[in-house]
Symmetry: C2
Subunit: 341 residues, 2 copies
DNA sequence: ATAAAAACTTTACGCGCGTCAATTTTTAGT
DNA sequence: ACTAAAAATTGACGCGCGTAAAGTTTTTAT
């Protein structure tokens, strides 16, 4: 079996001219079926693959897609990244995964190095408040960009995410229907814009239901939400900051910390009679099934968010990188009843 | 400010010849300091970056490095990947992160697409038992490869990981010293070779200490360890499979499931007097601090494993991709005492 | 100051493939 | 079977940069 060095040689052994072979690799459907058969048969025998660097150098538009998430150590983002990756591959693109690791500077550097990859498009879940708006604006002006998970108003060609109102209204309504109205437990300066939407939704829903909103704001910076939640909960429990026996955490990672604090202090959490506190939350984090007690939460529509994100990006790419107007697509949550509330 | 299209133009505005500019980008130290100053001054004014595809097409050795982990939704791997990424960047390389997502076929596809990236080297944490040995053997014969976390005997130019004996001996010795000897809780057919080493270490240590080993093997396939651990624990607790009040789990993710099962069944876990069971584990998973109770475990030496892995890879690359003989470097564990045991 | 070494410039080729224009072959349609 | 349309071939150029050879300038050392 001779080694095939380049497309020239491969064209020779397959009996097809190089330009036609090139066309085949660009789009197999673009050549006659008999030709395609001959190329694919040669492909079986010689396992040649076009030099990816030469291809990308010459194509005006590459098949590269960048996927950027804010914090990969959060399994939520790892899961969604997985789905996005697979969808891109299935569509014939080459995804590359990046994590900002919670650092705004790194997010900027990623966008820089992404630019030099000349990607056909980018799926970007920004850090949020900490993001360099102007940098992202500049970037998405050059590269077709779809934002997901975390919305930065007006940035990117489209945004796909979850409807935070749907999350909070379901959890609040459930808790008020089955017991006392919840306090809202969140970080004082949340990194993520979803947090603000959730707080506002909490206030609105509580008022609509005729209850007075009560928000517990805890200190802490960074992306170590579990620890922040744990310490914040310790403090809140010590100070008796809860008005009722119900708490709604802004997100599951805070709730994980909250439950850990309750356990440490010997407070039984759950909806059973012998429990002193009910805790619910939002996100349906992969671990929320394994907390003690298991966490009642509102689940993202993972699949739809991810699927719609890639769909939108592909539309954007095929549309030349521009949409007439920026769209925002929000998917509702699904309430997951477990033991904690 | 004129747009710089290529190195030719950049060389012109910087007043240096293109070959010298090319040399600069390959290694800034390789040009005279006055020359370097002029280039860097021009760089300030024009922010030009060499076309990465053209560079990689022509260089015999790229600056690309592949990082492959078996399961990115496990925060342990996300964390180690983060460290590896940053070390590579600091050394002037361009890392690309891949996850096999627990699927052997995907691991193979990643190696294929990695090959076409012509990487200078690859840091590979294989799936383990499910990996296609011959494929990895073939790959590491072509591409300088360092294995980490999960050892496949004889494969890759080197292996860097943790000393499983150190993990288990510390946890077993601690548990026997402070209470009854533990049973060992593990999957019947573990995906990871570390699991086998841990079981053997458990048997050895127990015998050395004069206790009879007792292993509880649970069913389950795949990478959803928490759920496997939870169900296995439910079954084991129902059947009264525990010989003593102590359990050592093969890894933290199983332990997370175990603790969830205990909580569901109302079994108090911990080292206090009112507790019925002690549970310890291995890995120091990022979440293990927030379990209920918090998990006593043996921690990987994350930093050293990661640092040594990249160091070894760089040595390998500088050594032309071959070592005289394959080395295995193991780092000992550090016992983390928390509440569960 | 002078010779040798080091660094730079000029010129030129090649990498592997995209793409175009002109030509030839194959397919499809009445 | 004849013609127009579709597809493939041939030949050639260019992408942006690595790299080598030969000549020129600058630096280092005696």
């Amino acid at each position: 079996m001779t080694k095939i060095k380049n497309m020239e040689e491969f064209a020779a052994v397959s009996g097809i001219s190089r330009p036609t072979v090139s066309k085949y690799f660009h789009d197999p459907e673009s050549v006659r079926s008999t030709t395609r058969a001959r190329i694919e048969e040669a492909l079986e025998r010689f396992d040649y693959r076009p030099n990816i660097f030469a291809v990308n150098q010459n194509r005006k538009l590459t098949k590269n897609i960048g996927i950027v998430v804010p914090y990969l150590a959060d399994p939520f983002f790892a899961e969604i990244a997985r789905y996005l990756e697979q969808s891109c591959i299935a569509a014939g693109y080459r995804p590359t995964l990046f994590s900002s690791h919670g650092e705004p500077e790194l997010e900027g550097e990623i966008l820089d190095s992404l630019r030099s990859l000349k990607p056909a498009g980018v799926l970007l879940a920004p850090l949020g408040r900490a993001s360099d708006r102007s940098k992202i604006e500049n970037f998405s002006g050059t590269v077709p960009t779809v934002l997901f998970d975390s919305n930065l108003e007006g940035l990117g060609a489209a945004f796909i995410g979850s409807d935070n109102y749907s999350f909070v209204s379901q959890t609040v309504e459930y808790m008020t229907r089955t017991g006392e109205p919840p306090s809202f437990f969140e970080m004082r300066t949340p990194a993520n814009p979803n947090a603000n939407k959730r707080r506002n939704a909490y206030i609105e829903v509580m008022q609509r239901l005729g209850f007075e909103p009560h928000i517990i704001k805890i200190d802490g910076e960074g992306w170590g939400f579990e620890e922040i939640g744990r310490q914040g909960a310790m403090k809140a429990l010590e100070e008796g900051a809860l008005r009722t026996d119900s708490v709604l955490c802004s997100n599951d990672r805070l709730a994980i910390g909250f439950l850990a604090a309750c356990y440490e202090r010997g407070i039984r959490v759950g909806r059973k009679a012998d429990c002193a506190l009910r805790v619910a939350s939002n996100d349906d984090h992969p671990f929320s099934k394994f907390t003690c007690p298991s966490l009642t939460t509102a689940a993202h529509d993972y699949d739809n968010v991810a699927a719609r994100s890639v769909e939108t990006l592909f539309e954007l790419v095929e549309n030349g990188g521009k949409f007439d107007k920026r769209t925002e697509t929000l998917f509702p949550a699904r309430l997951i009843l477990r033991e904690s509330a």
